[in-house]
């Protein structure tokens, strides 16, 4: 992820702001406070990734914060049913501002193989998502890879530049 300023629609940055952005990006990248919104089987793999064997703490993301106030990254882990969607949306809105969303597991990316009346087919239909981690459940190595991609994104993001809105999925059904 090269740090190309035009990536975020930012005019030509001066020397000072780009150095400051880099410093702030570096600080944010290595102190991710995650809100593990755990619902289903991916939670077991999240436990395995968070615990001592495949430790996420090595990347600075070891401290799960269970309140949206203190969390930067919302880990949506496991299937989101239509009954759960309003709760998830409210918690996402209550998060303090520079926040990112990670869709953990294929049920959050696209709804997985629960294509039925009860499941939200992908949480990007109700909220902007930054990193998608596919897999049912994703192996802990995939989770760490997703976390590193998120860190690159945080590093490359400018503190002042508004992040571009991810385009909503086309309504093809």
């Amino acid at each position: 992820m090269q740090k190309d300023p035009s990536y975020f629609g930012q005019s030509e940055p001066s020397y000072f702001t780009s150095r400051l952005d880099e410093a702030i990006g570096w600080a944010r990248k290595y102190s991710i406070f995650q809100y593990p919104f755990v619902t289903a089987c991916c939670g077991m793999e999240y436990m395995a990734a968070a615990c001592s064997h495949y430790d996420v703490d090595r990347f600075g993301a070891g401290l799960p914060r269970f309140s949206p106030r203190q969390a930067d990254v919302l880990f949506v882990v496991g299937t989101i049913s239509h009954k759960m969607a309003p709760v998830l949306k409210r918690i996402h809105e209550q998060m303090a501002d520079p926040n990112w969303v990670v869709a953990f597991g294929v049920c959050t990316c696209t709804g997985g193989f629960y294509d039925n009346y009860a499941t939200v087919m992908g949480i990007d239909t109700i909220m902007p998502v930054d990193v998608y981690i596919p897999g049912c459940p994703p192996r802990p190595e995939m989770v760490l890879d997703g976390l590193m991609k998120l860190q690159d994104k945080i590093q490359a993001q400018h503190t002042t530049g508004k992040r571009p809105e991810p385009e909503q999925r086309p309504d093809i059904f």
Binding site: S67, P68, R69, P86, V87, L88, R90, I91, E93, Q94, M95, A96, D97, P98
Partner: protein, 117 residues
């Protein structure tokens, strides 16, 4: 007199540093208050009734008992500093002081003031 200056400087420094950090946080931080963000977090649901200061009476009783025994503790500190010089007289006096308060504690406990139900 001069040791009080030390304490005053310590308070000033501590207060100043804390105030500085809070002030910097409020100035540099991005403000984006939305109605949802200002609402209370109750596990993702709309709260039924905001507490608005309604508390069960039992909390009040527990709080008063805590304050009572906390103040008793405050008296122990100066006594502990001068423990050597006071000798046995001090020990007996503090023993009597503690015994009286122990009577109060036993009375409160037997009347069930401590257990919640």
């Amino acid at each position: 007199m001069n040791e009080y200056i030390g304490i005053a400087v310590m308070f000033l420094l501590a207060g100043g540093l804390a105030g500085l950090m809070v002030w910097l946080g409020s100035v540099l931080g991005k403000k984006n208050p939305t109605p949802e963000k200002l609402g209370p977090f109750e596990c993702g649901q709309e709260p039924f009734s905001l507490p608005m200061g309604r508390l069960a009476v039992k909390f009040y009783l527990t709080a008063i008992l805590f304050i009572l025994f906390d103040v008793e503790l405050v008296f122990l500190y100066p006594w502990a500093v001068l423990y050597r010089r006071l000798g046995y007289v001090g020990l007996v006096e503090m023993g009597v002081f503690l015994a009286i308060l122990m009577v109060g504690y036993v009375y409160a406990r037997d009347n069930g003031a401590l257990d919640w139900k």
